[in-house]
Assembly symmetry: C2
Homo-oligomer: 193 residues x 2
DNA sequence: CCACGCATGTAAATCGTTACATGATTAA
DNA sequence: TTAATCATGTAACGATTTACATGCGTGG
């Protein structure tokens, strides 16, 4: 069985409206993109599985060979149980912090580049979320929209936190650089005396 | 070859001080725990690989059969190149937001439970980081400690952001509940008229 | 002497992405 | 007509965790 998380995402997507696998991938990428992702390789097998179990129904698509999937009553019930059981915390992996932790090897200037990149990404993220907020039609899916706004807000809080941290960090790194904690040179005199 | 990320973590750990595979696992879990994780199944094969490539050296351990690994000069040089190339962004997956997005199916009260849990975790995280900050001996690894503090700070910013978001969200969910957007009942009258 | 912590390693299982093969439909 | 987009699915690969098998050393 595909992971419960993927099943949740797929059934959840269909709880908004029936759609094809392709459309689901697009919907997840654009709407859930700031906190979730699924690939075709997950979506199609999961849909097939859910169909076998009678949790989704395959209907006629708009073109030959395509099908729109829809939730069955059993599927909606199953989604409720999936949503109810506690989210499994995945092990944290932050590439920026990993590099920064070993920053002594790299030196303050290179670390500052790293942090500036992270800051830029957060800034763009923030702008993107603000755009989504204003662009989106709130009347179309009025019942779902308050919950959607909560996830947007989460993204904004996280991005602002990253920006604030980055600014503090850049100041710290500047003083570190001034104090002369330079990066280790490519060929260290300690290693080849 | 094991992933560059894992190699970076392993070489990085040895850049602080030589240690056994077992000790490395402990060090990563306790010190890098709030932003990174590695399991034995990754660490041992990676160490063997790096040894083959002459990037780490296996020395005598304190007991029979055990070995302490240390960085070679080539290993240190390789670590610098690994740290320099840009962090690969992994696809986001936030189980709490996934559940909240489909909150309409679950109802505002159950969503509030979810958010309260997330808030609790963030609060504990914050307390844990504060404890680490005060407990740790800054003189032992003085050269690495400023960079370590930057990662602690990142965790604190993120946790505070989660707490602030959770409080806002709980207020919003309370008004939603008051307006009567209850969860869908276990047996919907729409599905069985 | 025995339970627990230190220590190493492998095998299997899980989870997920990427790339490919294939074809229909539509807009230029 | 041809390129782009919609659409489905599979195969291969990669990354990572978990569980297991094994044994040394030490404190109670």
């Amino acid at each position: 069985m595909r992971s419960r998380q993927t099943r949740t995402a797929v059934l959840g997507a269909l709880s908004i409206q029936p759609m094809t696998g392709y459309a689901m991938r697009e919907a997840i990428r654009t709407t859930l993109g700031h906190f979730w992702s699924e690939s075709f390789g997950q979506i199609y097998p999961t849909l097939a599985e859910l169909e076998q179990e009678g949790l989704v129904e395959r209907g006629e698509g708009t073109r030959t060979g395509s099908s729109t999937f829809a939730l069955t009553p059993a599927g909606r019930a199953h989604l409720r149980t999936l949503l109810a059981d506690p989210p499994q915390p995945d092990p944290p992996r932050n590439g920026v912090l990993l590099r920064l932790f070993f920053g002594r090897v790299l030196g303050p200037e290179a670390c500052a580049d790293l942090v500036r990149d992270a800051r830029d990404r957060a800034e763009r993220q923030l702008a993107g979320l603000a755009a989504e907020r204003t662009d989106t039609d709130h009347t179309a899916h009025a019942d779902d929209s308050p919950y959607w706004l909560l996830t947007i807000s989460a993204g904004e809080h996280a991005a602002r936190a990253t920006i604030a941290w980055a600014d503090e960090t850049l100041a710290t790194l500047a003083t570190l650089a001034a104090e002369g904690h330079g990066g280790e040179p490519p060929t260290s005199s300690k290693e080849t005396p």
